[in-house]
């Protein structure tokens, strides 16, 4: 029987929501395998959620209730917090025993950290950052963004090879059934085995929270967001003026502006910044990387101003304005001052 394993994403003792997206993707893969290989119902691929922890029972039970899926709690003696070293040792031991065809991991700071190493440990293929799964006559095909998000590359693992898939958060909609019975829960005790030199190489110290949560971005009805297309730090003034012309507005930025020290982190929108959902999001000179889109995809209405008509941001916009922002905003502000 084919096995599909989902590695639950756990942060500070809690399951993160992206795990439910992995469940949706696993179901899609199971259905694809079923169709393609014409398996009889009895051979429907089996899906397990893997929950690594020091004492996994409570969380494993909760996850089995929340998802209705079968759960294997991996009990790692002495485990406190994630490190790549511990995960690869313990998950490696378990997965080798189970011999699954597909291992699903979230494409997050944690998943990206251990999945590539895990794939080598298992001698498996590795496909990172998947945003779509499809099934055609050749079997399952995985799509992933490449070339600064301007293209999707379609990838197939070599037939017969197990594969570690990391899935882009937000790309798969959770589809947990309303009426479900809790799945079965099983606990397996698996100790962390150090390498041949008997040393622990990575010592976790602590988790810090970067100060600068921005309430203004969360409550604003309009967010005017600037990207590298504004060219220089001084042009942020123009962005602030644009924002001030609109009521209940706030200024957001793409990450490179924060990285360069042009503006504080509290303004950053995206997967490593704020997740925002304003009525209107106006992207000025932002290309539309998947990491940025992840932070503003829940906006009700998106307007983009970009001089490049094929900038990916336009695919994720309701209204597209192909112009130089440094000319467009002044033109807009002239109209504004005329009317006031």
């Amino acid at each position: 029987m084919k096995q599909i394993l989902i590695i639950a994403e756990i942060f500070q003792g809690q399951m993160r929501q992206v795990t439910l997206e992995l469940v949706a993707a696993a179901r899609k893969i199971a259905a694809g395998l079923y169709e393609k290989e014409n398996l009889s119902a009895i051979q429907m691929p089996r899906i397990h959620i893997i929950v690594p922890s020091g004492s996994p029972m409570p969380l494993a039970l909760e996850i089995s209730k929340q998802t209705g899926m079968d759960v294997i709690g991996v009990q790692i003696p002495g485990f406190k917090t994630y490190t790549s070293e511990i995960y690869i040792s313990c998950l490696g031991q378990l997965i080798k025993k189970m011999n699954p065809s597909h291992i699903l991991v979230a494409h997050t700071s944690q998943g990206r950290d251990f999945a590539p190493g895990l794939s080598l440990e298992l001698n498996a293929a590795a496909i990172p950052g998947i945003n779509q799964i499809r099934c055609d006559e050749n079997g399952l095909i995985y799509s992933r963004p490449v070339f600064d998000n301007t293209k999707n590359m379609l990838v197939c693992p070599t037939p017969g090879s197990p594969v570690v898939l990391t899935l882009m958060p937000g790309a798969f909609k959770p589809n947990i059934q309303e009426e479900r019975k809790p799945g079965q829960v099983e606990i397996q005790k698996i100790p962390f085995q150090t390498d041949s030199d008997n040393k622990v190489h990575i010592q976790h110290q602590q988790i810090l929270k970067r100060p600068g949560e921005n309430q203004a971005l969360k409550t604003a009805k309009v967010i005017v967001a600037a990207g590298q297309g504004i060219g220089e730090k001084e042009n942020l003034t123009l962005i602030f003026k644009f924002a001030e012309s609109l009521s209940s507005s706030s200024v957001g930025v793409s990450r490179p502006l924060v990285d360069r020290g042009w503006i504080g982190y509290e303004h950053q929108v995206g997967i490593t910044g704020a997740m925002v959902a304003p009525e209107i999001y106006i992207a000025c000179g932002i290309s539309g990387s998947s990491q940025h889109i992840a932070g503003m995809k829940d906006a009700k209405f998106v307007i983009s101003i970009n001089e490049n008509p094929s900038a990916p941001i336009f695919l994720h916009s309701d209204l597209c304005i192909v112009e130089d922002v440094l000319e467009f905003i002044p033109a807009f502000l002239t109209l504004y001052s005329k009317s006031h």
């Binding site: 999707n152 110290q205 109209l335």
Partner: protein, 245 residues
């Protein structure tokens, strides 16, 4: 103490991958700090897997201050997996027993973020990804680092050397090549390897690229027509109708 930075040529202009410039900058900063701390010499090598023209980024790295350059020349212009790239890099890197290897968090073209961790795994080194801060442990055998996580969290670790770190933008501001370094760069030798030296026979890929597509739109994507001022008027009218002006 020996440091290695893996650099990749990307894009139509053949520039150095943006994240790799941050990785090289971090290595050069560490070299400076180490130079003040320890007596033994500190070197920063760079290594790339790429077509013949990829030499250009090694020259740029020399201009920034790298000491030695390795070029693994690859003729294949098709899909090369992170695993094969990592195996090629490992084939050369293993001969030099580096104390610290830095890569970018991802390449702008392939966007995998896998090459670094895979290289570490092949060489049997511990690794950490998305590093935003490094500080040297006074013993010289470990580093304290901060990994970036989602929602403003940082994961603080102590990692034993030798190790590999993948570097996230924002950790530093890459320097520009200096004229004097660029002039000296012409005299520096680039050590080249062919893939056949390292791997006789075809690559054993575990996955293959079966096509490329343009991404689909997720919203209406209505394009405003007209002159600049006309478009500004349309937007103005729209925002006013919605009561935001």
């Amino acid at each position: 103490m020996k440091l290695l930075v893996c650099i990749k040529q990307v894009g139509d202009d053949g520039d150095m991958n943006r994240f790799d410039a941050h990785a090289l900058e971090e290595a050069l900063l560490l070299k400076k700090q180490l130079g003040d701390l320890i007596l033994e010499p500190v070197s920063v090598d760079v290594m790339t897997v790429g077509p013949p023209g990829a030499e250009a980024i090694i020259k740029r790295a020399f201009g920034m201050g790298a000491d030695k350059g390795y070029h693994i020349v690859i003729e294949n212009s098709g899909y090369v997996s992170s695993f094969v790239t990592a195996s090629l890099l490992a084939g050369v890197a293993e001969k030099s027993s580096y104390d610290l290897i830095l890569t970018g968090i991802m390449s702008e073209d392939m966007m995998s973020g896998q090459t670094g961790p895979m290289l570490a795994k092949i060489l049997g080194l511990p690794w950490a990804t998305g590093v935003m801060k490094t500080s040297l442990d006074l013993t010289g055998h470990a580093m304290e680092i901060e990994r970036e996580m989602e929602n403003g969290f940082r994961d603080c670790l102590v990692i034993r050397l030798p190790a590999l770190l993948t570097i996230q933008a924002g950790i530093n501001t890459p320097r520009y090549p200096t004229l004097s370094n660029m002039l000296a760069a012409d005299k520096k030798q680039i050590i080249t390897h062919t893939t056949a030296d390292l791997f006789p026979g075809p690559f054993q890929e575990k996955e293959s690229c079966v096509g490329m597509e343009s991404p689909e739109k997720t919203r209406l994507a209505r394009v405003l027509e007209g002159s600049l001022s006309n478009k500004a008027e349309q937007l103005f009218a729209f925002l006013r109708k919605k009561d935001f002006i």
